[in-house]
Symmetry: C2
Subunit: 308 residues, 2 copies
């Protein structure tokens, strides 16, 4: 069973940990958000790609929930000496990943080549694809002005009221090689429990991706990242409300209506099932809060059962 | 008293530590070898510039004799994962320096701009100049083939027999802004106790530098890096012998004949004074082996007295 997942960062990575327990890695393709990509100190950083790779490789710092375990931050401290902003916490081993990616890009490789190389170096056998090899940037219009996503998310800790979200460059961006065929040829497409606006939104903004989701013969399922009216992590709930979306499972269903077949919602949100169904999406109620490996695997199996 | 020093790496850095005790930093210009510059992992590394800056800033790891104190090597270990050669020991804080330099160069700055920025960030007030902003590479022809300097020096630990040393790009290299005037306008020019072939040789290979040394009205003094028939550190003795030069103080005098006025030689080499004098260079006998700060300062004062 070939499974293609659309993924953002932390939430997606946690779900995918379960998925690769339920499906052989060789049968999994992950299409990753690149709207958060940013250049720091001359290094091309792809936060969502890396958090998925690091997490699936078991290299993530589980205490912190981000970064590599055993990480040091010597270079970042040293960069402060040269007057650089150091609000984006780049560890030394993490910088090695970015240096390698940057090297490959400067030598003419595509982001998808660099991504493949990094995933392989971390011992993964999944197919890891950036949604596009072209530059795309998620911009957040806020009361404090327009911010790049990392600025909004990390530097200013999502403190600003969001007015709009845009994907600069998305109009001209072409899907990376393999993206459309991975959606078309999958036995199941799963949208990970990620922020629909800033994590999955950039993927849908790339020409051809939304059509591919609509046209694929595979069932398309999503897991709601909003449980009991709140996101597990991150600003999705506030952001959806600010943008006039319902900040709940029904809002997630509405965001993906047109191509979504199944939405897995949490037991706590059982009362929303009829609102989800009203969007034309079949609700599946399950325990979606993942605390450990068993719950991650169980959620993946629930989703796979729901689309079979 | 304005002092301009021509410098290589470790030996020069140790001498310059004494010099800045004897002369205010504002009056010191250091012209640095760039023939050893190399790109590692996409980062422009200038080993001789950095060892001088780190040493004069008191940031060097004195136990190891190279690298920054408090350094970690997390990124280097992580780079091995991607298949990179990691024989060149780049620490994490050191990489921050190279990332900053690389950023500036990519943005269009000259190596001399980056060098000034790094020296200032380390709190130095000396004028630190690369001999040239143009790319120049020291190549060592050996029995094992042609090696870039770092490959010969670090990777293969100077194990190969040297047949010739060349400075690729030196013909087209122009002196960096300030280099020729620093030699012309100095009250004293000092050639640090560095390898005459691979540390000072590249400086002399840049068009105009040798002429500036010949024409300056300032006295030009050198300190012999060879004491008792051996270099304090590095392969200068073997290299000079292999290239048909006398591997002693007289050989140093001969290498710089034509522009050198004074050569400071060690007490152990007092018997070589007449051979030095025979090259037209005035020998000054002193204790040149520097063990601590007092000996470094004393050597600097000896050299300054010799040219006054």
């Amino acid at each position: 069973m070939k499974v293609t997942a659309l993924a953002g960062g932390v939430g997606a990575a946690r779900f995918l940990e379960g998925l690769i327990q339920a499906v052989p890695q060789d049968d999994v393709t992950v299409i990753s958000n690149t709207g958060d990509d940013e250049e720091f100190f001359g290094l091309h950083v792809s936060p969502d790609i890396d958090i998925v790779i690091y997490t699936l490789a078991g290299a993530i710092d589980r205490e912190k929930g981000w970064g590599l375990h055993g990480e040091t931050y010597t270079a970042l401290s040293a960069l402060a000496r040269f007057g650089y902003d150091t609000w984006f916490n780049l560890g030394d081993a993490d910088m090695a990943t970015h240096a390698h990616r940057t090297q490959m890009l400067r030598a003419g490789a595509a982001l998808s080549d660099a991504t493949r190389s990094i995933a392989a170096a971390f011992g993964l056998r999944i197919t890891m694809l950036p949604v596009t090899d072209d530059r795309m940037r998620t911009l957040v219009d806020t009361d404090a002005g327009t911010l790049a996503f990392q600025e909004y998310f990390v530097k200013r800790r999502t403190a600003d009221d969001v007015r709009a979200v845009r994907f600069e460059g998305a109009d001209a961006a072409r899907p990376a090689p393999g993206v459309l065929s991975a959606i078309a040829a999958a036995d199941a497409v799963i949208i990970a429990p990620s922020n629909p606006v800033v994590s999955i939104g950039p993927l849908l903004a790339v020409a051809g991706v939304r059509d591919a989701l609509r046209e694929t013969r595979a069932p398309v399922a999503a897991i709601s990242p909003i449980v009991g009216g709140r996101t597990i992590k991150g600003p999705a709930d506030r952001m959806m409300a600010a943008l006039g979306m319902r900040p709940d499972a029904a809002g997630i269903a509405a965001a993906y209506a047109g191509f979504l077949d199944v939405l897995v919602i949490d037991e706590q949100d059982a009362a929303l099932a009829s609102d989800v169904a009203a969007t034309g999406v079949r609700p599946v109620i399950a325990q979606t809060v993942m605390r450990g490996p068993d719950e991650k695997r169980a959620l993946a199996e629930t989703v796979l059962r729901a689309v079979q």
